[in-house]
């Protein structure tokens, strides 16, 4: 199961890639994070095997996943270790994957294709959340997050 998105930006391929990766902290919505502390910044390390993580306002760090492919300015793939409680799950078999492709359509136009796939792998934990309807970890928390995004 996957979510596929396409966005076309008015910039060259190099620049589009750089803002996505090196500039990750400049655009990632700070409301979307999984650490316990409020998020100060989100960081995507620019190398294969690098970390993808957030740093909280209290200096704590919370991993999101790893950089699986780093191929500037064409492609970046990261794993997303999100479990049913929206916390880091170290088991790679339960991680989903986000692939982002940068396709030059002209010197100043780049098409960015994003595919978030295999999130059914979050499966077992996700089911626990779906059935645990009380508390922030259950549907209430998910729906609140959803409503915030939908209303943005």
């Amino acid at each position: 199961m996957s979510v596929v998105k396409t966005v076309t930006v008015k910039a060259g391929q190099q620049h589009a890639f750089k803002v996505f990766t090196a500039g990750f902290a400049t655009w990632w919505p700070s409301s979307h994070h999984i650490g316990k502390a409020d998020m100060a910044e989100a960081i995507l390390e620019q190398r294969e095997g690098g970390r993808w993580y957030e740093r909280g306002v209290d200096g704590s760090e919370c991993d999101w996943g790893s950089v699986l492919v780093y191929d500037p300015p064409n492609r970046v793939v990261v794993s997303w270790h999100l479990n049913g409680e929206w916390a880091y799950d170290p088991d790679p078999a339960r991680a989903s994957e986000v692939e982002v492709r940068f396709i030059a359509e002209g010197p100043d136009v780049t098409r960015v294709e994003l595919e978030h796939r295999h999130f059914e792998r979050h499966g077992d934990n996700w089911e626990a959340v779906a059935t645990g309807v009380n508390g922030d970890g259950g549907w209430a928390g998910i729906l609140r997050g959803y409503a915030e995004v939908a209303g943005a």
Partner: protein
């Protein structure tokens, strides 16, 4: 210049339908019970449940003479709808950042 796919935003995009879903998420409910707790008619509740069912968010069971709706325990459709919106929002912010960040001469 930014274009997005707006299809597939998910059955939860409608606030009333989200309210129906939230009530169903508190435990199995019949159409009548939902209609009593919401400011909408039974046919309207049924219509929202139909959409939620088609989206894979709820399932229904016959219990005696009643039909009860409950959240689909796999929950994957809800996760998909949620992630769909997360990425819409993130990519909108990304597109704005690309165009507002000065390009370094290469």
């Amino acid at each position: 210049m930014a274009t997005y796919r707006t299809d597939g935003l998910g059955a939860l995009g409608d606030p009333t339908r989200r309210a129906v879903f939230e009530l169903v998420a508190t435990g199995p409910k019949a159409v009548g019970e939902l209609a009593r707790e919401l400011p909408i008619s039974r046919p309207a509740v049924s219509q929202h449940l139909k959409v939620l069912k088609e989206a894979g968010l709820v399932i229904d069971d016959a219990v005696g003479t009643r039909r009860l709706y409950r959240v689909d325990p796999s929950g994957v459709a809800a996760l998909r709808a949620y992630l769909d919106l997360v990425w819409d929002r993130a990519l909108a912010a990304y597109a704005a950042a690309v165009e507002n960040t000065p390009e370094e001469p290469s």
